[in-house]
Each structure stands twice: as C-alpha cells, then as structure tokens.
C-alpha cells in the first residue's frame, strides 16, 4: 500500500446508547479507491461524516491528510471534498452558478477556473446544460453536478457517500467513470456504498456491519476467503428449496437473492447431484441452475452470518 493518507484508529461514535461506529481501525493509501460497504445502518455515513470533520467522534481519532479530525476538524476541510448521500444543490441556481459558487467559496484562482470547468464539463457531460436550473436536472445529472461541485477545488481526498443512490444504470456507470478519472488523477477516493457490485470496482474494501469492521481486503482476496464454490439454482419453491439445501451436510451456506438460491459447497462437482436429487424428490421443479464465481455479496452474507453474535 502506498503511503497512508487516511488513518482511522479506534474511531467511534455513539448516539445515545447506540454504538453507530465501533472502534474502526484501518488506513487508506494515497491514490487508492477504497470502498466502505455494508447494509443501511452499518455506520458508513457516520464514518464518512467524522472523516469530513462534520461530526465529532466520541472515541478514537482519525487523521485525514495528516490532520486529526478531533484536534483540527476545520483543518481537515482543506484536504477533502465530501459529497453527502443527497448532495445539496441550489435548485434555484443554474448548473454553472452552482459550480461557480463552490469555486468562489473555495477561492479557486481565476486563472485556473476555465481549465477546471472545461475538464469537469468534459467528464460529466454537463456542458450543454450549463444554463439550466439545477432543480430541472434528472437524478443522475444532479449527482454528476454534485460531483463537479465537490471536485472544483481539486481536493486530495474525496469522500463519497452512496453517490449512485437512486440513480439510473446509465448514469451510474457514468458516475463510476468519473470516479475512476478522479483516481487516475491521483485523488484518494473513499466511497461508501450498499451495492456490493460497486465495491468490486474498488482497490480495497472495508466491510462494515453494525458499526464494526467485519473484514478488510481486496475484492479478489474476499472471494478467496470463501473456501467453497457457488452453485446457483432457481426453483418453483425458493424458500422450501433453501431449507432443504441448507440442511444438506455438504452445503456450507444457502442464501436467497430474490428467488435465486446461492449455495456454497466445498466441491459442487461431487456433491451437487445429490443435493439436486433431494430437491427433485421433494417434488420441486428446478428452473435454472449454474455454477458461479462467488460475488462479494456471497462473501458478505457468509461473513455476516458466520460472525460471532455482537455483544
């Protein structure tokens, strides 16, 4: 890992009697694309808000760009850009006015404005909508404009909180292209997301659950953690199938994703036929089946369900 630029040490935040973030410790290297994943309520937003210097930790500390968030929260702001889940845009100002306002606020030198604006328009595609009111943009374009506003002062570190939340698939892809551009330009990116397919795009991923760090690894490393292989199957009775499959001694785990059952087996080639015959003998029709690579989602569910119960 490159030189660490974001370092969390026992970072904690308690809301009344709920430990929203519980002793998080990890480091993010310079220029890294770092994912923070976990379900809603895992503590992703709370963590990012503390790193942005907006929310005071109730325990531990974090250094962002070398600045402590507990001792100098204002100093942190020079190094970062933070894009909250619902990036606040002035809906009654135009696209250009929004970008200009943030450029003004961060005192972007006049001679650099034109160049930056051009670049932002280039990878956001917002140029043609320059004079449109932000309130009249589509959801995806609003998020892009949010990114542009956050990027206009060329931060070292970018904190993104679920940037693709509620965005259509095309815009989602565009947003990720922008994120990769940012990383290519040397910006360290911390992105929180509930979508595990997005986490696959990251260099490294921290999995959060109930405020605690469940695991931290590269997507590849996570997949290797699963000793078994994935077998997916869709049947006429998904729930009944899950109970049947889960009870089979050769199956480590069986989890439903919608009506698709993901089963983890040590050796599908050897054991799957037997599992299948049990499904068939229960009078359930198999509609579709495949052997697959484990996704981060499989790993995550596996980790959550096999983790010791939290105190």
């Amino acid at each position: 890992m490159a030189q660490p630029t974001v370092v969390l040490s026992d970072l904690s935040r308690r809301f009344r009697d709920v430990e929203a973030v519980d002793r998080l410790t990890f480091s993010v290297g310079r220029g890294e694309l770092f994912g923070i994943v976990g379900p809603d309520g895992a503590g992703k937003t709370t963590t990012l808000r503390m790193l942005a210097g907006v929310l005071r930790p109730t325990g531990g500390d974090a250094r962002v760009g070398g600045v402590s968030v507990t001792r100098d929260p204002e100093g942190v702001k020079r190094h970062i850009a933070y894009m909250s889940q619902r990036f606040g845009l002035y809906t009654d100002l135009t696209v250009r006015e929004n970008i200009d306002f943030y450029a003004d606020l961060f005192r972007v030198p006049a001679d650099q404005r034109a160049r930056r604006l051009e670049r932002l328009y280039q990878f956001s595609g917002l140029g043609p909508f320059e004079r449109r009111l932000a309130g009249q943009l589509s959801g995806g374009m609003k998020q892009k404009l949010g990114l542009c506003c956050a990027l206009v002062h060329e931060p070292e570190i970018m904190l993104l909180d679920e940037p693709t939340f509620g965005v259509d698939p095309i815009s989602r892809r565009d947003l990720w292209l922008i994120v990769h551009e940012m990383v290519a330009a040397g910006i360290t990116v911390l992105v929180a997301t509930a979508y595990l397919d997005e986490a696959e795009r990251c260099d490294r991923v921290a999995m959060l659950h109930a405020g605690q760090l469940l695991a931290l690894d590269t997507p590849e490393g996570f997949r290797r953690r699963l000793t078994g292989r994935i077998q997916t199957v869709r049947t006429s009775a998904p729930r009944q199938t899950r109970d049947l499959v889960a009870a089979h001694p050769a199956v480590q785990h069986a989890v439903l994703f919608g009506d698709m059952l993901h089963a983890i087996l040590d050796d599908p080639a050897r054991d799957w036929p037997d599992v299948k015959s049990r499904i068939a003998s229960a009078g359930i029709t198999i509609l579709e089946e495949a052997a697959g690579e484990p996704s981060l989602e499989d790993v995550f569910i596996h980790l959550v369900t096999s983790a010791p119960a939290h105190a």
Binding site: V54, L55, R56, Y90, A150
Partner: protein, 374 residues
C-alpha cells in the same frame, strides 16, 4: 478563532441575493407584499366611526327634540336609519344589527328642558365594544354642546359652569390612520426580517446544501453574517419604501428628524434578524420555521401596543412587553412621526432595543453551530 473572510462573505451574499431575486414569488414577498399590506392596513384598519347606524324614537316630536336630532346628524357621526314610536322596534333594530345606537327622547322633553332639566336615553350595542365606546363619547359631547348652546341662547349661562374644551394634540382629528400606519410599518419590517432570515438558513438545511457549506472553508460566523446581511439590506429598503408611502400617500406627518428613525430601524432590524436566526436554529423544515415565526410574531404584535394600549394590560403583561422589540419600536416610530420627539426623550426605548438585539443575537450565535452540526 479566525477572523471572518470578507471575500467568502461577499461570495455568499452574492449567492443569497441571486436566490432572493431569482424567484418571482420571493421578489413579490419582498417588495410587493409590504406595500399591499400597508395599503390594506392604511385603509382597512380604521377605528374611527362615521355615519353610525342610529335608530330614533322621538316621543316628544317638538321643535326642541328635532333640533337635538339635527345636532346628532350634523356631526356626521350618526345617521338615522330608522325611526318609530314603539320602543320594541328599537330593540328589534339593535337585535338584528340594523342599528348600533338607539336614541330615545322622552315625552315632555321640550317642556322639561325649558323648566330646567331633562334626560334622553342612549342605547348602545355593547357587542361592538370599540365602536360603542367611541359612539358614546361623541354622543356625550353632542348633548353637552346642545345644552350649553341652549343655556347661552337664553342668556342664562349657569353660573360656575365649566365647559370642557378638548384638543387632541399631534393628531387633532383623532384619525386612527395617523396612529396605525406608522405601527404597521414596524410590524411589516419585523415580519420580513423573521421570514427571510429563518427561511434562508432552514432552506439550506432542507436542500442539504448546509452539509456542503459545513465542509467548505466557510465558518459559522461567515455563514451567519452572509445570511443576515442581505436581509438587513432588504429590510432597510422596505422600510424606506413604506415610510415614503406612509408620508406621501397617507399624509402621515413626519415631525421628527428622519435619521432618528433610521437609527431605531437599524436596531429594530438587528433584533428581527437575531430572532430569525434563533428560529432557524430550532427549526428543521420550512414549515417548522413558519410555525415558530407565528408563535413569536402573534404575541409580539398583541403585546406591542399596536391595537391594545399597554397601559390597560395587567401588570405582568406590562412587564413582558418590555422584552418585546416591537413595542419599543412602535413607541419610537409613533413618537418620531407624530410628536417629533428625538433621542432626548426616547433614549430608554433605544437602549431597550439595543439590549434585546444584542441578547437575542448572542443566544442565536451560541446555538447556531450546534444546530448546524447535526
């Protein structure tokens, strides 16, 4: 603590103005609503009574009784809308609201008057207590004058008799408009300050832009300054505009030195901004801000002496009014407009306004950062 950066404040203020003037509805609220309200109050809030519906029962039907009735009608305050011989008709007229005042002249009125003394009966609709009180006052004066006139004609001015000659200074015709319009100016300015300041902050919170401002280099002081400065400017413009309308359209005399008023307005606007800022710290949404605003404004107007004199309030409330910036400003604006007073006599009100403004501002400034860091 770092000093506020004038550059960042300038950028914020520029953005605030851009937003204020972009929305036609906001523009209307800022510049049209105050004028309309002033015109409305100037014309509609009128406690003078003219041509009060009067029902007459004249049992005497003599020259004297007609002269008395003419005296009533000549003033323009009373208009006879019905007459009858039967007292029951008078009761019905009052019951139905056809008349507000009933006058009953007894049989033998002229004879008794010549013989030395008599009385007539005045019946008032007490449900309309304001108008009734005013009508009663007029009626008393009319009857008094009538009696004096009669005595003088007979050359028999009662020895030792005292005639009460009333002069209303500062507002000789006791026109309620002269009294009300300056007060309306004060209330409108307070409304603007509360509304614009609290909404300017709460809207950022609702839009989610406040989060972005918090992670920007903008400090809390800069944020507060840039939220209040534009409103102060709008407040001064509005005040000037509606004061000019009051003077030139409604002919409200301005007898004092206008800069005196201006100084008071600055203190008053400052206190309005402070209350607005305080409201923004306790409101998460624009609706909440509206609610809080009216919770403040309603009592502030009632306890200001606008409609109801402070002297007739129970002592507890008289004390409470001392905390009310509207009260002090109304006293100043009325005194400067109508009596031509200045700082020499009005300094206690100025001091009170200044204390209120500073105290509320300090409270708002103390609460502001906490309300921002959610």
């Amino acid at each position: 603590m770092t000093l506020p950066s004038p550059m960042r404040i300038r950028e914020m203020v520029r953005k605030e103005f851009r937003q204020l003037f972009r929305d036609p509805r906001t523009r209307a609220v800022i510049f049209v609503a105050p004028v309309i309200q002033l015109l409305m109050f100037g014309y509609a809030v009128n406690t003078d009574i003219r041509e009060t519906a009067t029902f007459l029962i004249d049992h005497d039907r003599t020259l004297e009784s007609r002269k008395l009735v003419d005296a009533f009608r000549a003033t323009g305050y009373f208009e006879v809308v019905g007459r009858s011989e039967r007292p029951l008709d008078l009761v019905r007229a009052l019951d139905h609201g056809d008349a507000l005042v009933g006058i009953e002249i007894p049989k033998g009125f002229a004879r008794d008057l010549a013989a030395g003394g008599t009385s007539i009966q005045l019946i008032l609709d007490g449900a309309e207590s304001n108008s009734a009180t005013v009508a009663q006052g007029y009626a008393q004066r009319i009857v008094q004058r009538f009696a004096l006139e009669r005595a003088r004609q007979r050359g028999a001015l009662p020895s030792g008799g005292i005639e009460l000659r009333t002069r209303a200074w500062y507002n000789p015709n006791l026109e309620s408009r002269v009294y009300n319009v300056p007060a309306v100016v004060g209330v409108i300015i307070m409304l603007m300050c509360l509304l614009l300041t609290s909404l300017a902050v709460v809207r950022e919170r609702e839009f989610g832009t406040l989060d972005q401002l918090v992670v920007s280099p903008l400090t809390h002081q800069e944020l507060m300054l840039s939220k209040t400065l534009p409103v102060a400017v709008v407040g001064v413009i509005d005040l000037t505009a509606i004061a000019l309308i009051a003077v030139f359209w409604f002919d409200i005399p301005i007898r004092g030195f206008p800069p005196t008023l201006f100084l008071a307005a600055l203190l008053y606007i400052l206190s309005g901004l402070a209350v607005g800022l305080l409201i923004s710290t306790i409101s998460r949404t624009q609706q909440e801000a509206f609610m809080s605003m009216f919770l403040f404004l309603q009592p502030a107007i009632i306890l200001s002496g606008f409609f109801y004199p402070i002297e007739s309030m129970p002592s507890v409330f008289r004390w409470v009014t001392l905390l009310n910036p509207v009260r002090h400003f109304l006293e100043i604006i009325r005194a400067v407009f109508l009596k031509g007073e200045g700082l020499a006599t009005l300094w206690p009100q100025y001091v009170a306004l200044a204390i209120i403004a500073v105290a509320v501002l300090r409270l708002a400034v103390a609460r502001f950062p906490k309300s921002i860091a959610a």
